[in-house]
Amino acid sequence: MKKTLIVQPNTSLKNKTGSWRTFRPEIDIDLCIGCTTCTKVCPEGTVAMVKKNNKPKAKINYDYCKGCGVCASECPVKAIVMKPESK
C-alpha cells in the first residue's frame, strides 16, 4: 500500500473546490451595504468581510466557492449576480 488513505487535520484546504463552479457570484461593491448576510448563508464559508474605504464589503474566495448561488439569492440589495463561469 503506497498511497495512504489517512487524512491529517486541517488539510481540507488542499481540496480546492472552486473548479466545480458553473455559475460565478460577482459582487457589485458599490451596491454592497456590508450587512454580512452572505457570509452567514454561504454553506462553504467562502465569503468574508473586508474593509474598503473604511467600509465593510463582502469578498468571495473563488478557490473554494462552488457557485451554489445562495448568497445571490439572499442578498437584500441584489448586489450579487450569478454569471456563467468561463475560462
Binding site: 500500500m1 503506497k2 498511497k3 495512504t4 488513505l5 489517512i6 487524512v7 491529517q8 487535520p9 481540496n15
Partner: protein
C-alpha cells in the same frame, strides 16, 4: 487431518468459535437472529461465562454489526464478525467500505442461499454478490481447514491491509460434527504475534486523523487501482502464510507445493482425462465418488481455496494438464453461468489445445449433492459435447 493432534468431535460452528476465542480478537460484533449461526452464539456465551475478555457488541442489524467492526478495526485492534445469506447482503455496503479503507477485518460467511423464495440452506450465491468488493475470499472444505484458515486470515489481513472472509458451507460445515483439532492460544499467539497497526494510520484521540474522507477524480482511480494490485499481489502472502502455518502448527503434508498451496489443491494423475473444479465442502463428495468408482488414475480434482484474488497462474498450472474440465458450482450468475466457470474459461483464451469446459450447477438452496450426481457429471463431460450454457444437475 493431523493424526498426532488431540481431536475433539465438534460442530463446525463451535470449532470456529473455539478457534476465534483462542485468537482472542479485541472486538466481536454480530446480529444474532436468522440467518446467523452458532458461531457468534458460542462467542457470546464464552464472554457471558467469563471465559473470554473481548468486547462483544450485539448489533441491531448486520449493517450495524459490520459498521461496528469497521469502526473498531479503524482504532487499531483485531476484530471479528460472522454472518450468512441475507445478513451478508445487508452488510454489502459496509463490506465495500472495509476493503476500500484497507481494514484487516476477518469474518466468517456461512454460505447459504438467497431469497426469494426464502431458503436457509447451503449454496454459494451469497458470497458471489460481494465477489468484487476487494475482500480476500477463502473457501474451506471441512472443519479443520476452516480452523486453519481463520488463524491464517488474521496474519494475511494484517500483512496485506486487506479484509479476509472465510467461507464455510452453511449446515454442511456449520451444523455437522467432525473430529477437529483446535490449536491452543499460546501457539496461535506465537504465530500471529501482537497486532501493531501502522503508526499514524488508526484512530487515536491523541493524534487525530481522518479515515474515510472523500477522494476526488484526481485520486480515486489510483486508489482503486492500488487496491486491485495489492489484492492480486496478496496471492504471494496467502501462499507464504499457508506454509508458515504448516511449520508453526506442525501440520506439514508431503505434497508438492504446486499441487498443495494456499491458493489451490490438486489431487489426481499427471495427465487426467478430466479435471473436476469445485470449492468448499462438495470436494468431500467428489473425493468419495472418485474413490468408490476407482477413478483415481483417470480423474483429477482441483480445489479452489482462494477465490479472490483469483489465482490464475496456480490454476493454469493444473488445468492445462487436461482437455476436459468440469466446473461444479453452487452459484449462478443469473443470465450468464457459474461465476467460477467464467473465471476459468478466461484462462483458456491463450491455450492452443482445444479444451472442453462445461459448467454444472448443483445444490442450489441446499439440494443434496450425491455421489451419483458427480458420477453423472463425469460421464457427461467425457461423452457429451460442451454446451455454452450451464447444465443443471438436479438429481
Amino acid at each position: 487431518m493431523p493424526r498426532t493432534k488431540p481431536l475433539q468431535i465438534l460442530e463446525g460452528s463451535r470449532a470456529i468459535a473455539l478457534t476465534v476465542k483462542n485468537i482472542a480478537p479485541a472486538v466481536i460484533s454480530a446480529y444474532p437472529i436468522t440467518p446467523q449461526t452458532h458461531i457468534v452464539e458460542d462467542l457470546a456465551k464464552f464472554k457471558a461465562n467469563g471465559e473470554a475478555d473481548y468486547e462483544y457488541v450485539r448489533a441491531e442489524s448486520e449493517f450495524a454489526a459490520a459498521s461496528i467492526v469497521l469502526g473498531a478495526s479503524a482504532t487499531g485492534v483485531r476484530t471479528y464478525s460472522a454472518t450468512s445469506s441475507q445478513g451478508l447482503l445487508l452488510m454489502t455496503e459496509v463490506l465495500f467500505n472495509i476493503a476500500g479503507l484497507r481494514l484487516p477485518i476477518v469474518m466468517t460467511c456461512a454460505n447459504r442461499a438467497l431469497s426469494a423464495p426464502i431458503n436457509i440452506w447451503n449454496d454459494h450465491q451469497d458470497v458471489m454478490v460481494i465477489r468484487d468488493s476487494g475482500w480476500i475470499l477463502l473457501f474451506a472444505e471441512n472443519h479443520q481447514e476452516a480452523i486453519g484458515q481463520h488463524i491464517m486470515a488474521y496474519k494475511i489481513a494484517e500483512a496485506t491491509k486487506l479484509p479476509v472472509m472465510i467461507n464455510v458451507d452453511g449446515y454442511i460445515i456449520t451444523h455437522s460434527y467432525e473430529p477437529a483439532w483446535i490449536p491452543d492460544k499460546k501457539t496461535i499467539r506465537k504465530y500471529l504475534g501482537e497486532y501493531q497497526p501502522t503508526s499514524g494510520e488508526y484512530l487515536d484521540p491523541d493524534n487525530p486523523v481522518t479515515i474515510g474522507a472523500f477522494a476526488t477524480p484526481n485520486d480515486y482511480m489510483e486508489i482503486r487501482q492500488e487496491l486491485h494490485e495489492d489484492l492480486v499481489a496478496s496471492q504471494k502472502i496467502i501462499d507464504k502464510e499457508y506454509f508458515n502455518y504448516q511449520k508453526i502448527f506442525e501440520t506439514k503434508t508431503k505434497k508438492s507445493q504446486i499441487e498443495d498451496n494456499g491458493l489451490i489443491e490438486y489431487v489426481g494423475p499427471k495427465n487426467p482425462q478430466v479435471i473436476l473444479v469445485a470449492m468448499g465442502s462438495i470436494l468431500g463428495t467428489i473425493r468419495a465418488t472418485i474413490k468408490a468408482n476407482k477413478l483415481e488414475n483417470k480423474i483429477g480434482i482441483l480445489k479452489i481455496k482462494t477465490y479472490r484474488p483469483f489465482p490464475k497462474e496456480a490454476i493454469a498450472e493444473i488445468i492445462f494438464k487436461t482437455k476436459n474440465i468440469a466446473v461444479i458450482e453452487k452459484a449462478l450468475s443469473l443470465g450468464q453461468e457459474g461465476p467460477l466457470t467464467l473465471d476459468i474459461k478466461a484462462l483458456l483464451l491463450n491455450r492452443t489445445t482445444k479444451t472442453n469446459i462445461q459448467n454444472y450447477i448443483v445444490g442450489l438452496g441446499g439440494r443434496d449433492i450425491t455421489t451419483g450426481m458427480i458420477k453423472k457429471i463425469i460421464n457427461d463431460i467425457i461423452k457429451t459435447k460442451q454446451n455454452l450454457g450451464s447444465k443443471f444437475v438436479n438429481k
